[in-house]
Structure formats: structure tokens, C-alpha cells
């Protein structure tokens, strides 16, 4: 009985304490509002020097003109409540229909040059890629005058994306436009400069070739990777692109254990990669001749030396063939030749380091590097397989919570650690195999900010492309440099978003 009384007394004390705190905070709040300092005046926002998305809000932007003071007659932003002179609330307005006659059909043609380089002269001797003069010479010919411009992917790049697929994170924006495009950023110039420099190097011994894009989610790693793939395809590289590395480990394709290699083969994924290679690089593969006999079956099937690499790749598309062995043979030949630089681009690079969704017959989980295709990618990245000319370009994918990027990879590429791993320090989990497959990798940081020029380019394309069909803010279009028909404004002056 007594303990019940005590418990109820404690409850009363806790409630009254909470009420006292609440009352005290209200009193302080009231006191602050009454006696606080006056609010600063509204800043002079002009679209030429600010993030244009702030314009996407209800109301006209006239009051924020360059030389205008906020007019007392015009309503400030956000205060549309209240009644008009008759005492009734203002009637709600539906957004008016888009006038497609305003669209300039030649706009895309005029303002979207190809992503491909118009004039690029590779440096003849790139013995030291850290030489500032060489890098500066390359930068002067690559996108130096087009920062922020939205550029369309050319036809050959579109063939590459059709052959290999698109990353899932970018799909939403491409359904709104007739052609795929992306904005060129400073980091695009930097990345392609580094890619070009790597493409000029010829390696006589196996070396680590992995460059991994790292940054926060949404900073544009997948888009940068697509730009790099497009650039390399247009400039004569041989490209193999895995847009969704998550599909290698999420139990979405058949798998079978191979006791000889002690790995789990993924024949359908190998076939898909070979098919994409054949579809995209038919002529290049026909010109490359194999060096040495290529063994592609456990029954002694051999592809003779001097044959066309295209024929070997086409053998991998047939049934009843060890597709993984054919893929390994094709990649080995591509790694040995030096005529064409080879780009192996993989998105969601970190998914290959942890547990996959696959399970073995005893129901033990299978690690990503015990699957054949991820194993091939990692071995090329850290230099266990030779890549004489080219590089492995990856991007970590922070969105997939089941396949997080492990600590050793993050440390190797300079990515940010989560607070738990950072606090653990030396005691964070570092699996020896993950450490092994992280050595020699280089990180390429992608900044969080989009950049004002690139943001303006995106915004122009969205508005002038009439994607946001309810937005008809003529003032915004006038600021952005689009033509305006006289008398096209709503006479009442209220624009809708």
C-alpha cells in the first residue's frame, strides 16, 4: 500500500515539475519576444548570384528586384492569409495551363552541345602526371568554357547506356526529357583530366588502378561516373560499365559454386557484360588479336592465339559455355593490349565488400568478394590482375543500408566515417579481406555543393523545358535570360508555382 502511495506521489512530483518547466519556458519566450532586438531587413536577393531554387516559392519576385525597396503596397512572402475588402477570403486559384507555343523548339539544339571533346590533343610524354603545366594544358581544352552548361549525352554514349543500363538513382530525371543530359561541374573537369592522364600511362607490371568517387549521398557520384563513361566512349576507349553494383550481390541472378576456383559463379551477369561489350565495341574487338592461347572450359576448350577477340567474346554468349571463364579471358586480353585504354566503371563499389544476400547450401552468408564478378572487379582495382592501359573507376553508394561501405575502404579513399566507427578508432571492425581489397585504391572526393553555375544550368533546363508545368513565373524567366512575350503576364500579378 505504502509503495503505491509513494509511486503516485512521484508521479505528481514529475508532472508538476514538467508543468513548472513548461511555464518557465513560456515566460522566457514571451520575455524574449517583447524585449528582443529588431529583426534585420530582408536581404537584397538577385538571381544572378544566388541559388535559383529560392525562386520556387509562392508569390512574385518583383519585390526583390536589384534596385527596388520592398514596397509597402505589395504583400510580403508567406502572408497570404487574410480577407479582402469585402470581408471574404480571396478565392483559390488553380494554376493556369501551360502555353506550349512559348517553347522554343530549337532551344535544345542551340544550347546543348555534345559532351564529347571538340579538340583534345593528348600530351605526348606524360612521364609525370603531377606536372602542373601538363595538367593545365589539358584543362584549357576540356570544358573550361562550359562550366555549368547542361550538355546532352551523344548517340554513342546513349548506346553504351542502352547496352549496360542506367543507375537507378538518376532515372527519375530522365523520364521528363527527350534526351539524357547532365550539367558540367568543376569536379567533372578535374575527374576527366585525371582519367585522361591515367589513359596515357602504359603499365608494364600490375599496379593498383582503382579511383573511387566518394562523397555524401546525393552529391552526384553516379552522374559523374556516367559523364566519365560517356567521355571515354566518345574518345575511343573500351568501356565496361556496371551501373548498379548492387545487382551483383542482391541475389537477383543465378549462382553456382565452382570447387576449382572456390568462388560462386554468376553466369548470367557475365553474359550480360559480354553482350554489352560486343554491342558497343564491335569494331575495336575485331581489331584486337589474342596473345597466347585462351583456355575457356574445363574440358580443354582453347581459343587459339592470334584470333579475333570479338570471336572469343561471342563464344561467351552461347549456351553450355563457361561464361565466367570467357569473360575472364576477354578481360585478360584487354588488360594486355595497349592500343585502346580500358575503363571498368562500377557504381556501388562498396557493396562488394560485405555480406551479399546470397547464401551457400549450408545457409552461411556469402561475402561479395567470394562471388566471381565482384572478385574480378576488385582484383583489377588493387592490381592483382594486369591492366596495362586504363583504370577502374568506382563510386561508393551510401544509400544501400544492407551493403554499407566498410571502414578499410573508407579509410583508403578518404571517405567520412560514421560516428561510431570514428569513435571506435583502432577498435572498429576491419576484416583482413576488406583491408586486402582496399590497398592501393585512391579516392576522388566529390563536393556536396552543386555550384551556382551548374545549378543555374539545371534550373534553366527545367524551366525552359517546361518540366515543372505549373511554374509560369515570367520574372524568373526574364532573369534567366529567356524571351518574354508582351502581355503574357497574369494581369492580377499573382504568379503561381
Amino acid at each position: 500500500m505504502l509503495w503505491r502511495l509513494r509511486r503516485n506521489c512521484l508521479r505528481v512530483v514529475r508532472v508538476t515539475k514538467f508543468v513548472a518547466l513548461a511555464v518557465r519556458s513560456c515566460v522566457f519566450a514571451v520575455r524574449d519576444v517583447r524585449s528582443g532586438p529588431p529583426l534585420p531587413p530582408a536581404p537584397d536577393i538577385s538571381l544572378s548570384n544566388t541559388w535559383a531554387a529560392t525562386a520556387m516559392c509562392k508569390g512574385s519576385l518583383d519585390q526583390y528586384g536589384k534596385d527596388d525597396e520592398p514596397s509597402q503596397k505589395k504583400k510580403p512572402l508567406g502572408q497570404f492569409k487574410g480577407k479582402n475588402k469585402s470581408g471574404k477570403p480571396p478565392p483559390k486559384k488553380m494554376p493556369s495551363n501551360v502555353n506550349y507555343n512559348d517553347a522554343d523548339p530549337a532551344w535544345f539544339v542551340k544550347t546543348m552541345p555534345d559532351l564529347a571533346l571538340q579538340s583534345f590533343e593528348p600530351a605526348s610524354a606524360l612521364s609525370d602526371i603531377n606536372d602542373d603545366k601538363i595538367i593545365k594544358a589539358i584543362q584549357e581544352t576540356v570544358f573550361d568554357t562550359a562550366i555549368g552548361e547542361p550538355l546532352a549525352f551523344p548517340m554513342r554514349s546513349m548506346r553504351a547506356f542502352r547496352a549496360y543500363g542506367l543507375p537507378s538513382s538518376n532515372k527519375w530525371s530522365y523520364t521528363s526529357f527527350s534526351i539524357l543530359f547532365s550539367a558540367v561541374r568543376d569536379v567533372t573537369v578535374q575527374l576527366l583530366t585525371q582519367v585522361n592522364a591515367e589513359g596515357q600511362r602504359v603499365r608494364s607490371v600490375p599496379e593498383p588502378t582503382g579511383i573511387i568517387l566518394q562523397g555524401r549521398s546525393g552529391c552526384g557520384k553516379s552522374t559523374l561516373l556516367m559523364q566519365a563513361v560517356s567521355h571515354c566512349v566518345e574518345n575511343g576507349w573500351i568501356v565496361m560499365y556496371i551501373p548498379r553494383g548492387i545487382d551483383l550481390v542482391n541475389s537477383s541472378s543465378p549462382y553456382q559454386y565452382d570447387a576449382r576456383s572456390k568462388l560462386f559463379q554468376q553466369p548470367e551477369i557475365a553474359r550480360g557484360l559480354l553482350k554489352g561489350l560486343v554491342d558497343l565495341h564491335l569494331e575495336e574487338l575485331a581489331k584486337i588479336r589474342t596473345v597466347g592461347d585462351v583456355l575457356y572450359g574445363d574440358k580443354g576448350q582453347t581459343f587459339a592465339a592470334g584470333g579475333e577477340l570479338l570471336r572469343l567474346a561471342q563464344i561467351g554468349l552461347e549456351d553450355e559455355v563457361d561464361k565466367t571463364a570467357v569473360l575472364e579471358g576477354v578481360l585478360e586480353q584487354l588488360g594486355k593490349q595497349t592500343e585502346y585504354p580500358f575503363l571498368f566503371a562500377v557504381d556501388d563499389f562498396g557493396a562488394m565488400y560485405g555480406n551479399s544476400i546470397y547464401r551457400d547450401p549450408q545457409f552461411f552468408p556469402i561475402k561479395g568478394y567470394h562471388l566471381s564478378i565482384p572478385r574480378i572487379v576488385l582484383e583489377y582495382a588493387i592490381g592483382e590482375r594486369q591492366l596495362s592501359r586504363g583504370l577502374v573507376l568506382g563510386a561508393i553508394g551510401p544509400l544501400h543500408t544492407l551493403h554499407t561501405t566498410p571502414v578499410p575502404l573508407r579509410e583508403a579513399i578518404g571517405a567520412e566515417l560514421c560516428w561510431k566507427d570514428a569513435a571506435a578508432g583502432a577498435y572498429a571492425k576491419r576484416h583482413p579481406a576488406q583491408v586486402h581489397y582496399s590497398q592501393g585504391l585512391r579516392g576522388f572526393p566529390v563536393p556536396d555543393e552543386l555550384g551556382v553555375e551548374a545549378a543555374r544550368g539545371w534550373y534553366k533546363t527545367w524551366i525552359q523545358g517546361f518540366v515543372m508545368h505549373t511554374l509560369q513565373d515570367r520574372n524568373v524567366l526574364r532573369h534567366m535570360g529567356a524571351e518574354e512575350e508582351p502581355g503574357s503576364r497574369n494581369p492580377k500579378g499573382n504568379e503561381t508555382c
Binding site: 541475389s251 537477383s252 570447387a259 576449382r260 549450408q362 545457409f363
Partner: protein, 160 residues
């Protein structure tokens, strides 16, 4: 597709369609799929003939299934050549949980025998089964419809 008299719709995922068999649910279905190296996104129409044979052999007689393969993993840096000899398959020597499963008629028989055992030894649970009342302490003043319909000594395992 019909498998041992049970219709598995072609468009269904295999690990979900296997729940049609009495005694299998999601977890055991996934274990079955991993035992025969069927990936989780396989549809019933995409099953190969060896996989169908293996599944039907197991479902007809779970106790006679072969022990699972021991899949050794390649350590970092290990590279094998196609000219190397193929090692002999190694089977696990641990106790196989899937071999102890009781499915379909055997599973129903186990449930019937348990209920009969409770009645035979004169327990409260046996009496409740015999009277057709809820067994697990539910209210009988209202509701208890399922118990009245299904609880009996000779439990059918399906709704009439």
C-alpha cells in the same frame, strides 16, 4: 507449374510459392532455395529441370536428402587455373535440419498425435481440444469462434 500435386503459379517467386506446402514458411523456403542454389528472385517459371527435380525429390521425402555441400571460400590472392584438377565435392557432416522436417501428411500426423497425447494423459489442453474450446487462455464469454470450428481431437488442419 504442378509440383507433387500442388499448383505453384508461374509468376510467383519460388521462395514464396513453396509456402503452399504444409510445414514450409518464408525462412524454411529460403533455406531450401539456398540448399539447391536457387537465387531469391527466381520465378517458378524460371526454374531449371535439375532444380525442379531436386525440389520434388526433397519435398516427397525430406529425410532422404543428401547433406549440403561444403563450399570452401577462396582466400584473398588465390587464383585457380582451368587446367587444375577439379576437387571432389565435400559434404557437410553436421546435423541437417532440413532432413528432420515433417511436411504435408507427416506434419499433419504429428499435430494430430500431439493432441491425442494430451488427451490421453488427461491434461487441461487435451480436455479443451476435446470440448472444442480455446486452449491458450482466450475468452469464451464472447468470440472463440475459431476454436469452436476447428478444435477437436481429430484436428483436420483446415477450415470447414
Amino acid at each position: 507449374m504442378h509440383l507433387l500435386g500442388v499448383n505453384l503459379p508461374d509468376g510467383h517467386l519460388v521462395y514464396r510459392a513453396l509456402r503452399s506446402f504444409y510445414g514450409l514458411n518464408y525462412h524454411l523456403s529460403q533455406r531450401l532455395c539456398s540448399r539447391f542454389q536457387i537465387h531469391l528472385r527466381t520465378r517458378v517459371s524460371e526454374l531449371t529441370d535439375p532444380q525442379i527435380s531436386a525440389l520434388s525429390a526433397y519435398l516427397s521425402s525430406p529425410s532422404t536428402v543428401a547433406p549440403p555441400l561444403r563450399c570452401q571460400r577462396a582466400p584473398p590472392g588465390f587464383r585457380a587455373s582451368l587446367s587444375d584438377p577439379l576437387p571432389a565435392p565435400e559434404r557437410s557432416k553436421r546435423m541437417d535440419d532440413l532432413a528432420l522436417l515433417k511436411l504435408e501428411s507427416e506434419g499433419r500426423r504429428v499435430v494430430r498425435e500431439n493432441i491425442a497425447h494430451y488427451r490421453e494423459i488427461g491434461t487441461y489442453r487435451g480436455r479443451r481440444h476435446a470440448m472444442g474450446f480455446p486452449v491458450r487462455g482466450q475468452n469464451t464469454q464472447s468470440n472463440a469462434r475459431t476454436a469452436r470450428r476447428m478444435n477437436r481431437l481429430e484436428r483436420r488442419g483446415y477450415v470447414t
